[in-house]
Amino acid sequence: MAPETGMPESGGATAGGERAEGRYLHAVDAASLSVIGKPWRKIDARSRVTGQTKYADDLALPRMLACKLLRSSVAHARIKSIDTSAAEALGGVHAVLVGSELPVAFGILPVSQDEHTLCIDKVRFIGDPVAAVAAVDEDTAWEACRLIRVEYEPLDVVTSVFDAARDPHGMDPADRIHDYGREGNLHRCEHLEFGDLDAAFAESDLVREDLCFFEGNTHLPMEEHSTVAFTDPDGKLCVMSSTQTPHYLHRALAKVLAAFVPPHKIRVIACPNGGGFGGKSDPFNHEIAVARLSMKTGRPVKITLTREEVFQTHRGRHPVLMKSRIGVSKDGRIKALEFETHLDGGAYGSYGTASTFYTGALQCVTYKVDNYHFKGARWFTNKAPCGPKRGHGTPQPRFALETQLDKVAVELGIDPATLRSRHLAEAGSLTANWMRIGSMGLGECIERVCAGSGFRERWGRLPLGRGVGLACSSYLSGAGLPIYWNAMPHSGVQLKLDRSGLVTVFCGSTDIGQGSNSILAYIVAEVFGLDPQDLRVVTSDTDLTPVDLGSYSSRVTVMTGNAALQAAERARDLLVPHVAAQLDIPKGRVTFGGGRVFDCEDPERGMTFAEAVGTAEAKIGTIGTTGSYRPPKSPARYKGGGVGPSPSYSYTAAVVEVDVDPETGIYTVPRIWVAHDIGRAINPALVVGQVEGSVYMGLGEAMMEEMSYRGNRFGVHKIPSMLEYKSPTSMEMPEVVTYLVEDPDPNGPFGAKEAGQGPLLPIMPAVANAIYDAVGVRVDEVPVTPEKVFDAMQRKAQGKEARYGPRELPRVEWPEPRRVRTPWQGGTGVEVEREDELARSSQG
């Protein structure tokens, strides 16, 4: 089949014609670049560090009211009645909103529109909102919430996947958490087969089956979610919110508020986020509630969640119980891999359908896997809804796979680094499940961390209590498909070139601290030879900026970058002929640099950038261009193949060193070496920042973070506070040695790939592998806490299996698999059953 080119599709109308040479820019010699690859300051750095950045909660508008939500105090119940009369009568209360006023359901994915702004007839977890109050201040709104009487009829509470899986046929349908999904409390159930597993296991020299569990954890952004909404005198609604996805919020508002305001009269502005990590990627009930309250009261209304409410809003890492069965040859080649995952989804769908597929999507992009089967189930439970957190659905299976490979390496007597580097997936290849790999620098990543840490010399040779562990990973540089099906670009950029020399970049993307606004400036500045600090970047305003789908799936640099590059090259192409004519030189000699446009053969001959814009403007009128980007079409054309494809994959390898106290199980991590294949670093300082941030977050997940609930006590979150939900501080942060591996990818702007999520993934398995190296026990569970290490050490001392981890999975009646032949079986990327049908239709 024809390989996809990955060429950004043309879009935008101001400057049509031939596509410029942008997509070859990855091959440009780094030395010829003046902005790209340099550690420029972020364009908003001064504003952020001097406290002048206005976050949503900093907004204060005249006559603004404060909103508080009354949240369910029970985990699962039918709402029999809500009496708001006392609250409405309280002085200072302007409006009370209940669920029946907004009956339209919403949700981030079209397949799970299962949320309401405020619960109408049922609550599904402690924290589900049932009423909203707008009052003169927060205290009054809170007092008013206490006056609202809600009568509940309790239902069975489900707090684990085992509870959820109990007797799906026998259960009273009224006790189901949702009335959609497969059956009982089973939300999704997927079964995919690529290749012939039985034969491959039969041929394998070593077969292992391992169970493991990855506990859920949350994003813990410093900034609590906050939203301000107001309606202007013309009836136009404006919602300013700490969201990562203003476009999707806009869609949800338009849907739920359709009876009150049309989509083109809704403006969403994403404020700078004080951390997102995936936790601000859903449209949220509180955002819609204040929007409606602002209409009802005719005043601006603000809500800022408390920290406890942020824990309830959640959408964080799914707890996943996993089984991995692997068959390898003597030299460690993965001949067969069978993977089963059970996701504890919490109370709503959120991104869960995608999360389920993600637990099976990226197993084959790091090492060659000849045959691969995947079963994934997501269960509803009466807990805060899970969703996407940095790494979305892939850290859990990555933990399972990388710890399993460590066990395979020990059994085969091959060091874990060599085992991995021998069988790397190849650049440009297709995987068993039809993911197209772009550039692939994992081999070099492994060598860099091994050289830095002395892994090969130290692994298996350190004294008791000290250990090193290695793990690798990969992540996508943006999801290949949008969240709702459409054929439009994923990212759009508009440029305005002013005769003053100012270039303004308009883009719908949202800076959540990762530096996406700066990336736009760097790329455009590179093309025009300008100082990035001199550009103006206008982003994340649905009235002013073209759509970008949002800051999720590590998509922003690649997608907005390509769109910005296209727009900038088109604008450059508009200027060049007029500058050439003015200077009386051939067009090919017109060069941009240092704020000037000049003849490359006679640099003295030229003009300022502003003069160049003016010259062109005089000839052709106002100068503006657009650029847009859509990822290449994926060869994975089977149902479920929409999750996993990406323009490119980043790769990471990490070595973690641990010191374990053999008497207690308490351990510390003194050093981490991490190498990340970034394609090309648009700004190496920002990439290193993302890598270190990922290491930090990964270490928190590895060592201590967990969303724990009191299953036997009403299903309350055990520790919804910054003090008791344990996360490392800067004092726990080890020394981190970061290596950037740059192997430019043809699909990335200047060859860039993602940096924000991939480097988190290897940390958890590398910690567990290091623990094994230190004290000879396996903790097949995240977080790897001292209790678990201690427990496993005690088992070992008693001659039992030196392991701490799960021993069973819930029972599921899996559907018939969707069978897809692998590329090397001559497959076509669709289900076997559909191949004939498609062949016939293509002949016809």
Binding site: S73, D139, K726
Partner: protein, 331 residues
């Protein structure tokens, strides 16, 4: 968490005035020193004084008196940072300074005082929660409810003693002075506490803890060992204070107190008894064996329960390890 509720703040300039003002408001009044414990509790609505008597202007509560070889007295308003940075205390009472230095974070130690730390409210993760959270469990025995969710059939509250200095100061035999409407009294610190999560002190209504008295240095050595999740900041979920008195290398008196594992700093009586009269030396196998055996006796009295961070069964198993290490530190 909510904002602070409304209250009247009083700022007297002497301990006597403070006691007089508090007495005037009875149970509606609360003293506040650094506020690092009281204010979060007020934000959670687990403490609801309408009159708060600030001690920040009481200069008579900030003194340090005493010399080496005699008793040392610290005013209750001495901040934890002041203790941590006091070179004289560092030299003479290193275990005490260490215990103070591992409390919370530098910012909170700047505000937090020794008096406040000695009277730190008992903690429990069914109790240290905001109003809505507690409402969802129908509240608990310690505040607004009737059941102790840690042990639902229990007639008592199992909130946890969580001060770092208390186990150590109890072990070394510190005293405190209390000033109340009926006058001043001085008691051994161990008598200040009760084994109950709710009524955890014997402080009488309106009494103000004014001074801490450290015993004279006369041949004892002490240590504090703390178990917590993070080295940067966390309450102790096991805190062992140990003090050995020596005649040469023979132990003449021993006191071991286990904090963070019950509602008071639990005395490890058998452990201490096994050490008295024994010859203990550093890096000596027989001494090590003896200490290990004695420390094992700390397992049973440790009442770790599922109401703090980290697994309760493991915390209990850690008690002998931490006791053993604290005793070793004293050699």
């Amino acid at each position: 968490m909510l904002r602070l509720p409304k209250f009247t703040l009083h700022r007297p300039t002497s301990a006597a005035d403070a006691v007089r003002i508090a007495a005037g408001h009875g149970p509606e009044a609360s003293y506040v020193a650094g506020g690092t414990d009281l204010y979060p509790n007020m934000k959670r609505r687990v403490q609801r004084p309408t009159h708060v008597v600030s001690l920040s202007r009481c200069a008579d509560l900030r003194s340090r008196a005493g010399v080496a070889g005699a008793e040392v007295t610290l005013g209750a308003m001495t901040t934890l940072t002041a203790i941590e940075r006091d070179p004289w205390l560092q030299e003479h009472y290193p275990a005490f300074v260490h215990a103070a230095s591992v409390i919370s974070t530098p910012l909170l130690r700047n505000m937090g005082t020794i008096g406040g730390n000695l009277l730190l409210d008992t903690r429990c993760n069914y109790y240290d929660q905001n109003y809505e959270w507690r409402e969802s469990i129908s509240f608990c025995m310690k505040c607004d409810g009737s059941t102790c969710w840690v042990a639902p059939s229990s007639p008592r509250c199992w909130a946890v003693q969580s001060s770092d200095t208390v186990p150590l100061l109890c072990a070394i035999g510190a005293h405190v002075t209390l000033l109340g409407p009926d006058g001043e009294r001085r008691i051994p610190l161990t008598d200040l506490y009760r084994d109950d999560g709710i009524a955890y002190t014997t402080k009488r209504p309106g009494e103000l803890l004014t001074h801490l008295h450290l015993p004279a240095l006369n041949g004892w050595r002490a240590s504090y060992r703390k178990l917590r999740r993070r080295g940067s900041f966390d309450f102790p979920v096991l805190g062992v204070g140990a003090c050995l008195h020596f005649d040469g290398d023979v132990v003449t008196r021993a006191e071991v107190r286990i904090g963070g594992a019950g509602s008071h700093a639990i005395p490890a009586v058998k452990t201490a008894a096994m050490l008295v009269g024994q010859r203990l030396r550093r890096d000596d196998a027989a001494s090590g064996e003896l200490i290990r055996a004695a420390a094992q006796e700390a397992y049973k009295p440790t009442r770790a329960m599922d109401n703090t961070d980290l697994d309760a069964a493991w915390r209990k198993k850690m008690a002998p390890v931490f006791v053993s290490r604290a005793i070793q530190d004293c050699l």
